[in-house]
Symmetry: C2
Subunit: 245 residues, 2 copies
DNA sequence: GCCGGAAAAATTGTTGACAGTTGCCGGTCC
DNA sequence: GGACCGGCAACTGTCAACAATTTTTCCGGC
């Protein structure tokens, strides 16, 4: 829920509204407040934020470019829905980029960074024992982020999270399989070892496989679902459902 | 040069201005009409296109997200300038993604696509003999595009050209070394062979190296330049030059 | 002749208004 | 009963205007 207009920061122009709105919409998508397919009502959103439609439109246009929204002529912006094909495509791209990150990181990773990773792995082991899926999920994300950060490739550091965010727009969220936590952390340990030994090629291969293992799990849950559910069909041409208000 | 307002398409609302403006600015950057560091004057551009500032701002906001522009509070949008570090980072990312494209393509590439690539390689050989650098450049780009297309990864097909466009914003353009054309096409031939044999791993490795070879050449020209020129300094803190009108 | 500072001009960030489109509702006709 | 049609409300795409801010210009003083 959103206050209609917290402070009226009228007239001291020290920051633009646009990035704020952009982050706010991203947040709403992240928390599931806005789910795939729903329309962004510019007027309502602007009113709720206590500003006018101009900046809102600019923010939406930006979010369109990074793949979180799509626009339809005379109908406005919609929260994008990621198809199965797109989700699988994203896994492949992430695998490649993650491998690249590891190859780069292996050559320059510092002791401090390695130590941080080791600690994350330990804490993930603890979360597995608990078991505490939510914590594991968080730690796992952090571990991945650390690898990307260690690459010291600013463009990659910027790009990778965007791809992950887009993956979250897949219609069905919550893809964490409890059973896979242990094998996942085993993979983390192997990755850590490769990085520690500055084995770029090895780290790249392991990281790539780590993501592709995630893709395989993802595919399995899809098959399970389509077997359980009323078969949504292997290739749905269009099922865009505005369904506003 | 741009007509002040070609047709006054007042009132039949069949398309939004925003994508048109976006493409127009992209074009202007592509042709060098707008070079790195220059400011986008919203009013002037809007006037020239015969529209108002709103759509122009939306287009700029979109271009900011894909990395072609950057914004500064109360100063507007500037054509981005890609630093050496960023250019090198981009090469690494492109290498990883290109390799991924090849791995994916090898498994599913069709005879038609292979034949098209073979033809491109032949024509590049011809361009080398001529020698016709401009044609080689075009054909080379087309070859790379074909590989990415063959991956059938829509997200990758969308992402890869964006990275290449950003690389074009590096301050010094025209990075094609005539001497490297032959070795470059030899690499193409090896890549083609790997794809033909459905050797995903081999294709990935070759494609990655192909881009990294480009990175190495890029680095060499940098070193040559900094030796020849009056040393522009390894790290210039700010040299943003609006210099409008 | 060059520097500092105030005033003017130019430009951005934002707003409110207007025209055109879409979607919905109810009535009419078959 | 169901399909078609006209009007109406909601909303988008665009514009013109306003206030804040940056940049340029101009002018007196050292």
């Amino acid at each position: 829920m959103l206050r209609p207009a917290a402070h009226p920061p009228r007239t001291p122009r020290t920051a633009s509204f646009v990035p704020l709105i952009q982050r706010e919409i991203e947040r709403m998508i992240g928390t599931g407040e806005l789910t795939g397919g729903t329309r962004i009502n510019e007027s309502t959103l602007a009113l709720r934020l206590g500003i006018s439609r101009g900046p809102v439109r600019e923010a939406c246009r930006a979010l369109e470019q990074i793949g979180l929204l799509r626009s339809e002529l005379n109908r406005g912006f919609f929260v994008r829905e990621v198809s199965t094909k797109e989700a699988l495509d994203l896994y492949d791209i992430r695998a490649g980029l993650f491998g690249t990150a590891g190859r780069l990181a292996a050559a320059i990773i510092t002791m401090v960074q390695l130590r941080a990773m080791a600690e994350l792995i330990e804490r993930m082991d603890a979360a597995i024992e608990a078991p505490d899926i939510a914590t594991f999920y968080t730690l796992n994300n952090e571990f991945h982020r650390q690898v990307v950060l260690a690459s010291d490739n600013d463009k990659l550091i910027e790009l990778y999270p965007l791809l992950e965010a887009e993956l979250h727009l897949f219609r069905r969220r919550g893809l964490v399989l409890p059973g896979s936590m242990r094998t996942s952390n085993d993979e983390h340990k192997a990755i850590f070892e490769a990085l520690r030994q500055s084995d770029g090629t090895g780290a790249a291969r392991l990281l790539e496989r780590h993501i592709l293992a995630g893709k395989a799990r993802f595919l399995r849950t899809l098959e399970d679902d389509s077997a359980t559910e009323a078969r949504p069909g292997p290739l749905d041409p269009r099922q865009s459902r505005p369904k506003d208000r």
